[in-house]
């Protein structure tokens, strides 16, 4: 039963890759066939946000009990989240090339937000590596993580809704849910979200166990 979610994630991702390329999609101007990228680009970002949220959760926990364990988990989930940012940016960049005509634009608040988010988590790792005392590191890193997460969310959740954006769902653009995402696409999109989030959790768990084993090995 413990491994059920791993099997589920693999099945769901395989299903979305195969059926995502085969199922019928609505024919829309500009988007055309690239609308299938919704199945890959958006869930990967959801997985990243999930990992960052997990990192926040463990950071808050590490201020309370079992500081070292929770701190290690906070670090691993931040690393996993940052790892998911790479395919997220690549899929988005390629998609942008075919729809907006450019790989990267500074006009879009979500793209800027993502860039800042990556900078924030890189700064978080630099901060971690600059502190040698383990116990002290847990608290300082947790404080920075919580503060940075709130600031980042203001940036990527609130600001884009006030300004013009090329992304759907912001600045007067309708979200996918409004009319593009028909029932056929939902059949792939929602499983894809669940699948990628579970998959990211799997990576996170493997990394946590690896760190734990390394620590045990060091102690011996």
């Amino acid at each position: 039963m413990k491994h059920l979610y791993k099997i589920l994630s693999v099945v769901l991702i395989l299903y979305t890759i195969v059926w995502g390329l085969l199922n019928p999609v609505p024919r829309l101007d500009i988007l055309n066939e690239t609308i299938r990228n919704v199945y890959y680009h958006v869930p990967i970002w959801f997985a990243m946000l999930f990992q960052m949220g997990l990192s926040l959760f463990y950071s808050i926990k590490s201020l309370g009990t079992q500081a070292l364990l929770n701190d290690a988990k906070a670090q691993t989930s931040a690393e996993t989240g940052l790892f998911f940012a790479i395919p997220g940016i690549l899929t988005g960049s390629i998609w942008a090339r075919y729809t907006w005509g450019t790989f990267w634009t500074f006009q879009d608040p979500k793209l800027n937000g993502v860039a800042i988010g990556i900078l924030i988590y890189l700064a978080y790792f630099i901060l971690r590596s600059s502190i040698t005392d383990e116990i002290k590191r847990t608290r300082i890193a947790a404080v920075y993580n919580i503060f940075a997460f709130v600031m980042l969310n203001v940036f990527i959740m609130i600001l884009p809704r006030l300004t013009d954006s090329l992304h759907p769902g912001n600045g007067g653009n309708p979200a996918f849910g409004k009319y593009d995402l028909d029932s056929n696409m939902r059949l792939v999109f929602y499983p894809a979200c669940v699948g990628w989030i579970l998959f990211s959790y799997w990576i996170f768990e493997v990394k946590t166990r690896f760190i734990h084993l390394k620590k045990l090995n060091d102690e011996e």
């Binding site: 800042i116 924030i120 300082i140």
Partner: protein, 240 residues
């Protein structure tokens, strides 16, 4: 061990009015201490003034008065961003280790961060108005909606000062140098900065107040959120 209030003559109950009196007296004394530390060394204060005037003068020489509105706006905020990092950034770095123990025993951590933040906010308000004065004098005055611009300037300088105070505390605890301070604060300040640039552009263009209300609301909310986060999180930084 939570520290704080070693010699407090009152019981620290939330319903005790004398406790609040004592707390506010302690807060005022801390802010007074900040002032004294700053004005004891006239060189730092003069240094900051020279820094601001120098930066504005250099950019005036570089642009030679040929600036369009967006550039004028962006340049102003970049200058202010860097001067605020130099000013508020060192607020915790100048605390000495022996003093830290004293502070730990005699003050509450929330009070300590509040005093730093309030002091830095006040200081930043003064310095940002000085920057604006020299900037409009040396380069030119492009602002059409002055009252809106000054409101944004106030909210932005309090926001910058608040964020930078907390970042300075983190950097000081990590025994980091000044570089760590800027690495930590740049990405965190970015949301505030983009928001501020957007609203101040509206002020420069002379748009009506009603256009900027939602942005000003978010700016105020950001200030409040930041203060609350600092008060909540600082006690964890404080204990050693």
């Amino acid at each position: 061990m939570r520290g704080g209030y070693l010699l407090a003559p009152v019981k620290s109950n939330w319903y005790n009015p004398f406790y609040y009196l004592y707390a506010s007296i302690m807060l005022l004394s801390l802010i007074k201490k900040e002032f004294r530390l700053e004005f004891r060394q006239k060189t730092t204060l003069g240094g900051i003034l020279v820094y601001i005037i120098g930066t504005v003068f250099v950019s005036a020489l570089c642009f030679k008065g040929k600036v369009d509105k967006p550039t004028w706006n962006a340049l102003f905020w970049v200058i202010l961003l860097f001067s605020s990092i130099t000013i508020s950034g060192k607020s915790f770095l100048k605390e000495q280790s022996g003093q830290a123990l004293f502070n730990y025993l005699y003050y509450k951590p929330t009070q300590f961060i509040l005093s730093k933040m309030l002091y830095n906010m006040g200081f930043m308000l003064v310095l940002s108005s000085i920057t604006l004065f020299f900037y409009t004098w040396f380069i030119k005055n492009e602002i059409e909606n002055v009252s809106l611009f000054i409101t944004v300037l106030c909210l932005a300088s309090t926001g910058f000062a608040g964020v930078l105070s907390l970042m300075s505390a983190i950097a000081a605890k990590a025994q980091g140098h000044f570089a760590l301070m800027s690495i930590l604060s740049f990405p965190v300040l970015m949301p505030l900065l983009t928001l501020v640039i957007r609203v101040s552009k509206q002020a420069v263009d002379g748009l009506a107040w009603s256009v900027s209300y939602p942005f000003l609301g978010i700016l105020i909310a950001l200030n409040v959120i930041m203060l609350m986060l600092a008060i909540l999180l600082f006690p964890y930084l404080w204990q050693d």
